[in-house]
Symmetry: D3
Subunit: 161 residues, 6 copies
């Protein structure tokens, strides 16, 4: 089963052997959004500027989760990440908050799962902190933006247009 | 800031005091999807039936992540969950896999974050196991389906129609 | 060895049996301080109000560490805490930041270690975030303030005067 | 905000990018103390020699906590430490136990937080194991002793005299 | 598939629903052994009495691992254990060390996996600490000794004679 | 105490200093077995082929536990493993399941504890999933098979014949 690299020839799950891959600088960026009610949107927007800092807490959650991706995703390698950042954009027209997570590593395998896990934890934390106001929020559009540094080359998500 | 219960009156983040809330039976169900390429879809579908069991691994990931929600989402209470299940549906027409996570607890606070975290980890694991075939997969539509057992009453997500 | 309850009669470490103790409401509060340079003090004070929120990050660290006290302190019982808060006071005259952690539980054993661990992690996080400015900071005065709810009765630390 | 390296130019918390820093041998040593009652002091002193080994348990706690510093302090990098030791000194004249933690790493960033976290966990464990005898113990004087191996050069804490 | 309770009717792994089971006092005891060389046996025996305390470290490892059984064994419930002890017996005639782990809980499901996991971690720690002397050590005879408190009644392992 | 490398000259436990050891490719393989009843054996055998996949779940458990060996065994170094696999063999004549765990690393210290911990967690998971059918299962014969890549040279367990 060519494409499913997380299985051996008998179909059993494995943590893929990357021992012989070269150490290179690697980076990945992923993003995702949460769609919220008008009331929640205003609370987040105001909270950021003044008090009740939803995004500050979500940022810490995303960074901490990225570091333990290997403990959440079964076949991910444990990786000593050298950088993690989380950035948020408030999108007024769609009443949504977009999160972007960027991760870096000097190592033998890519960090895209770390970026995706960081985004997911940040968005889940926003949900958690605002759920008393709105239970209908939806997390959406979690995907890889960019990936560089491995044998498979530079990946840049095609623009939707 | 009335709606944001995770902050005290000064705007500081807190793990909300639920000591005085009654112990009741609580449940929550959440779902979400991952949209994949035709090639990935077939690999998952065949793998499930025969070998290379992507969904079996994703199910374990979701169950284990639900148990440590409190260690991923900063202000969640540590909860001794009494049930976690993850179910998948393959949706051929949209080339997507839907995950549903159901959690239960006899306790003082709800388990919706546990259900949402279980769904997220299961979908991320599918991404991880199939990413060598397709880096353009997208995780979407993560939301609460149902919640029962707390003071705020029974929540059932309104049908989209 | 009467006083050392964490050992059995042969002197071996044990996680004390609390199965037969009654479930009661328990709380504990602990505090501690970090003494910093004038430059760090100003950076924290301004950061809190405007940007670079040292204390917001330290608060999250303290809450999350309190939840996993049982995984840090070998003989502590795993406890499903029902409340954790961290509060900071900036003390201009001594150039120090004081942290107070309050924890609650409806359970069979006390939560003083959770309060003390929350304080310690919060202060260590302040150190981490400011260490590029000053490596001579000192963490001090970590102690229990109050404890209520167990068989040993109400403990209130005697005033130093 | 020059000194606060854990924030980006917008004031948001980040896990600092160390990808481009050279791999060098790094070490750090930190210390701290716990002041106890005469009764506790004697119990620890005798326990060490004969049975009821408080310090042996505290040493293991400190070593294990140093290894997971990155999971306790939000913006610390995950680091594959190559050495951790904890040493204790009983100081009869002040009725206190001093802990020193030394950590080493061949890597891209320093290990002072690991040394400080190891000391803190060791001292908290002493508190835990002796708290049935004395709730008034105080943890104090946690600070960095020495740090070597990074760009910022050798740091040796100035003598108090 | 009647006997395999960790699967639903479709054969999918689940964390079994125990929400409706009564809270009762539960205990379990498990044991296991490690067979070592004469040289290792003597080192452990002398170490216990004087210094180089292999068994003290292994005891802490077993207690801490029992507490996180739910994070090691995928379908185990998270349980707030109320007691964990580890006891060792040195068996000169077979050159082996036997470990017994006893766990208790007031809860809705049994603690036999916690007792078995505690034993396993304690024996692995002995292996780790002595492996420089002998790589041929073997861990054996890990089994349940006793279990009480659930619907399935009292289990006492039949004597081998 | 020559052979016990996990203690310093005073007999205190340490995480051994490996900073100055060279980075080399290292591998280790370990195995172990669980003896089960005829009924359990058939359930596992059929489950593997069709549904109720005991071994698939146990494989994930073993891989994930190997990654956190450093968090289970107190004096193990945290290691960014580059490969983990778990393989099972059903042995009809002895009614047992044998697990083999292979781990690799490019690093400064060996990975035998990771292989042994992976085996132990996999076997414990089999016990967990089948315990409703048979509480008399026994885990046995956990030992190192092979180890390569360090200063101590290639170790291959002598054949029993």
């Amino acid at each position: 089963m060519s494409g499913l690299t997380h299985f051996d020839e008998k179909g059993n799950a494995v943590m893929v052997d990357v021992t012989d891959k070269p150490v290179t600088d690697r980076m990945a960026a992923a993003c995702g959004s949460i769609r919220v009610s008008r009331e929640v949107f205003e609370a987040i927007k105001n909270g950021t500027a003044k008090k009740g800092d939803v995004l500050g807490t979500a940022r810490i959650a995303g960074i901490m989760a990225a570091k333990k991706t290997w403990d959440i995703i079964p076949l991910c390698h444990p990786l000593p990440l050298t950088k993690v950042t989380i950035d948020f954009t408030l999108e007024e027209e769609t009443l949504s908050v977009e999160a972007v997570c960027t991760a870096r590593l000097s190592g033998r395998t890519g960090v895209e799962m770390e970026a995706l896990t960081g985004v997911s934890a940040a968005l889940l934390t926003i949900y958690d902190m605002c759920k008393a106001m709105d239970r209908g929020m939806e997390i959406e559009k979690i995907h890889l933006l960019e990936k560089a540094g491995g044998k498979s080359g530079h990946y840049l998500r095609p623009s939707p247009f």
